[in-house]
Amino acid sequence: MTINKMAEKLGLERLSGETDRDVEYCYISDLLSRVLGGCQPGDVWITVQSSLNMVAVAVMTDASCVILPEGLTAPDNVIDKANEEDLSIFTSDETAFSLAVRISELIRQK
C-alpha cells in the first residue's frame, strides 16, 4: 500500500509533501528520542508533535509519512520545512488508536 492510497481510504488531509511511497508499518510515539530508536523506514508515524524537530526526526528515521491525529495541524514554518524535505504530513480528525486500527486493516488487505 502507498501513502496516497492510505490517505484516500482514511480521508486524510495532506498538509505537505507530494511524493508517493510505500507504507511498511505504523509507529506511534510523541517522545522524539523513542521515535529515533523505534520508528522504522517506511513506517507511518502518528504523533501530536508538530514542531520543526518532528520533521527532522521523520526525515532521519525515513518514516514514509506523518499523521497528526485529532485534527491537529502544524505551523507554516513546519509545513515549509516539510515541503523542502518532501516529507508528507497529513492530518485526521480521528484518534491515534483509531488511525492505527484502520492502517493495520489496510496493511493486512494489501
Binding site: D30, L31, L32, S33, R34, V35, L36, G37, P41, Q49, S51, L52, N53, M54, A56, V57, V59, M60, T61, D62, N77
Partner: protein, 141 residues
Amino acid sequence: MPAEVLRQEYNVSADDFAAAGAASAAVKNTLKKLGFSPDFIRRTSIAMYEGEINMVIHGGGGVAEAEIAEDYVKITLTDHGPGIADINLAMQEGFSTASDTVRELGFGAGMGLPNIKKQSDDFSLTSEVGKGTVLTITIKS
C-alpha cells in the same frame, strides 16, 4: 563513495531548537549523494542527530565534524558545556537531566546516548565537568 576522505564541519548553536538537526541533515544529504546504502545513512543520521540535539540541549552548542570515507563515517561532536559528572549514569536508558521545556518538545526521555551507542560501531564519550564533552562515533558501512 569518496575515494579520498571528505571532511565537513558545522557550528551547532545552543538552545536553537529550530535549527537543531541542520548539521545532521547536511551530512545525510552528502551520504545520499555519495551513494551509501539507506541503512547506513539512517544509522549515521539518527546517531548524529541525537548527538547534535544533546549539544543544543545540554552542551551549550559546539562543533560537529564528519569524516566521510569509503567504508565508514566518523562523527566528532565537541561542546564546551557543563560536562557529564557520571558517564555511566548518563548512559543508562531513562536517565535524563533535561528541563521541562525540553521535555515538552518531545526530548529528554533519557534515550539519546543509548540510541547513539546502538547505531554506532565505535563509541567514545569523554567529558570533564566545567570544560565540556567530546563524543566520537564511527559507523561502518
